[in-house]
């Protein structure tokens, strides 16, 4: 059967974000601009980063995302994320390795509500006609400088965003414990573009991805979407295969 990740999240629970409860309220995030750069990475560098419950994507790849949220319950903010392509059972997922939010308020809420491994820093989203750029600084040091080069319009139906998985401590069955949390935003597309991904600076360690080196580019996309951060519906045991360790804690939304 398929390979599994090697990361034991229960070994160091103090390193994970902690949620007070799993009753996170949804956020509506209209007209977000999402830049995503997909790059293949060496498989050996990612085995130790993926929880034991999940399967690696083959080939291994990462998603570098920089999103400009112009409107949110905590005001405008930009968010940069590094996700590792993977599988939760049969389903493609992006396991969230690291994130940087442009405001302290956003970082605090994302960490406490959905378990994002996020810190505050400088996150810039810059749109030009020849490229769309995302740059991230933490502690005054550039940890990501990337761009979608030569953006060309495509249809929103050409673009697929996979759901995310975060790792956090949260109370369940009377005990606060490490778990995997599915984050599954919805998207309504207004505009989508595609181009070549280009990354000139990537500090893997700063994204909790020590040892990961970017290899072959796949594709870059940038979309303008109405999106959200929904209520938590599924959590997973970090050590069991997800087809054995998944718990539904809330019914699906009416549109699902």
């Amino acid at each position: 059967m398929p390979l599994y990740g090697a990361l034991d999240l229960t070994a160091n629970p103090a390193a994970l974000p902690t949620l007070a409860h799993l009753d996170t309220e949804a956020w509506t995030l209209p007209k977000a601009e999402m830049l995503q750069l997909l790059m293949e990475v060496p498989r050996t560098s990612t085995e130790s980063l993926l929880p034991k419950a999940m399967h690696p994507a083959l080939p291994s790849y990462v998603i570098l995302a920089v999103t400009k949220y112009s409107n949110s319950p905590v005001g405008p903010f930009n968010l940069a994320m590094l996700r590792l392509g993977s599988r939760a059972g049969a389903h493609p997922r992006g396991f969230l390795l690291g994130a940087v939010a442009s405001t302290e308020a956003a970082a605090k809420e994302l960490r406490g509500r959905w378990g994002f491994p996020v810190e505050a820093g400088e996150v810039k989203f810059v749109r030009r006609h020849d490229r769309i750029m995302g740059t991230v600084k933490k502690g005054g040091r550039t940890i990501l400088d990337g761009a979608l080069v030569d953006p060309q319009p495509v249809s929103g139906t050409d673009v697929q965003y996979i759901n995310w998985v975060t790792a956090a401590n949260a109370p369940l069955d009377g005990k606060t414990q490490p778990m995997l949390i599915q984050v599954d935003p919805k998207y309504t597309f207004y505009k989508a573009e595609r181009g070549k991904p280009q990354v000139s600076t990537f500090d893997a360690a700063a994204w909790n991805a020590d040892g990961v080196t970017l290899a072959d580019p796949i594709v870059g996309t940038c979309s303008t979407v109405d999106t959200d951060l929904p209520r938590i519906r599924f959590v997973m045991d970090p050590l069991k295969p997800v087809f054995q360790g998944t718990r539904r804690i809330r019914e699906s939304r009416a549109d699902e």
Binding site: M1, P2, L58, G85, V219, F243
Partner: protein, 379 residues
């Protein structure tokens, strides 16, 4: 109704030389028995880099071994990836003609374009152009087989005048098919007079519509070859056992394992936004069906596992929808012991096959005049 075998050649970890060899030998033993039992086809896919799911990267070699070991079963190259980074069209024409000769005219040629980023990215192919290159290839192949000399100037490949050798044993050329997974590809097949080689496990309703659309559309086709190959094949799992419960349980285990492995593939659409890959192909249905290796819920309707009576009912239903041929997957990751695969084939041949009298496929092969053979522009 005709019956065939369909091989992905799935090999579980850990991979050792002996394990790879054992699985290949198991497949060959199954094919030899199927030939003796009256199965009509053996198909083998072309896949690359798909760990555990398919180690069938050189199907022409496997099929050559099948042809040598058998007397009458037809060998299906299904499918040849018609993307220049994978296969040069001259090589496709040459090796298919050779296989047709070695099999004494028993070759079927399936065509397609690959659906996974794992493969397309591995070969450095551009996902945006795979439909176009496939279209060019399928229009060239019949002429490469039939014409004494051939030259071509196209978008994806070109060649000066040469004699492509050898020529196929079958005249005018082997039957041609296209793999149908994405919605709408059945229309591509019909428009070109190609057989529809269904590779998805959709339920009756969806398949009925596809078949109906295909049958209607092919009546006004512009065939790319010298004849119209109006045939609809579909894929299924086979496990036949005297005891229904045992048959269903093993069949579900087979189906779950196959589906779970398939869902690990990185579909092109998952990572590469392209208008050429708007569909996830067969993956959505598989993901619904594959909640895990220990899933217990009912899989897609119409599966050919259980006791003979149950399988007869399923096959009768497919027949009533207009399916001409069902190709069976017999194993995945070797979850079904070889002796049980062989027993299942024997029982199926003894108890199920007699209920389905053979008949010529509708309209196949229907000769067309050379003037109607579609020729790519620029030649």
């Amino acid at each position: 109704m005709k019956f065939g075998l369909f091989y992905e050649i799935s090999i579980p970890r850990p991979w050792t030389p002996e394990k790879e060899r054992t699985v290949y030998n198991n497949c060959l033993e199954q094919v030899k028995l199927a030939d003796e039992l009256g199965f009509e086809h053996v198909w083998a896919v072309e896949h690359h880099f798909l760990e555990e799911y398919s180690h069938c990267s050189a199907p022409e070699l496997f099929l050559t071994a099948c042809a040598v070991l058998t007397k009458r079963i037809r060998v299906g190259h299904g499918i040849v990836v018609c993307v220049p980074e994978f296969n040069h069209p001259i090589k496709i024409a040459e090796r298919t003609a050779t296989l047709d000769i070695l099999s004494a005219g028993r070759l079927e040629v399936g065509t397609g374009r690959s659906a996974t980023w794992t493969e397309l990215g591995g070969f450095g192919a551009n996902p945006d152009t795979t439909k176009k290159s496939w279209d060019e290839f399928v229009r060239c192949l019949p002429r490469m087989w039939m014409q004494e000399t051939f030259s071509y100037q196209g978008e994806f490949w070109s060649m000066p005048e040469r004699t492509i050798l050898p020529k196929p044993y079958q005249k005018p050329h082997p039957p041609m098919w296209v793999a149908v997974t994405s919605p709408g590809t059945e229309i591509d097949a019909a428009d070109r007079g190609l057989g529809s080689l269904g590779l998805s496990f959709a339920g009756f309703g969806e398949q009925e519509k596809k078949i109906s659309d295909y049958r209607r559309r092919i009546q006004s086709c512009e065939p790319v070859g010298a004849f119209v190959n109006e045939q609809v094949a579909t894929t299924n799992f086979l496990f036949c056992h005297e005891d229904e419960k045992t048959g269903v349980e093993m069949g579900q285990k087979l189906g779950n394992t196959f589906n779970y492995l398939a869902t690990q593939l990185i579909s092109t659409r998952e990572v590469y936004s392209s208008p050429s890959y708007q569909s996830l192909g067969l993956l959505p249905a598989l993901r619904r069906a594959a909640t895990g290796p220990d899933a217990s819920e009912q899989q897609t309707e119409g599966m050919a596992y259980g006791d003979p009576a149950r399988i007869i009912r399923a096959v009768k239903k497919w027949e009533s929808l207009g399916v001409d041929c069902i190709n069976f997957i017999l194993n995945a990751n070797e979850v079904v012991p070889q002796e049980q695969v062989m027993a299942s084939l024997r029982l199926f041949a003894k108890e199920v096959m007699p209920h389905f009298a053979r008949k010529p496929a509708q309209g196949s092969p229907a000769p067309v005049s050379p003037a109607n053979v579609s020729v790519a522009a620029g030649e």
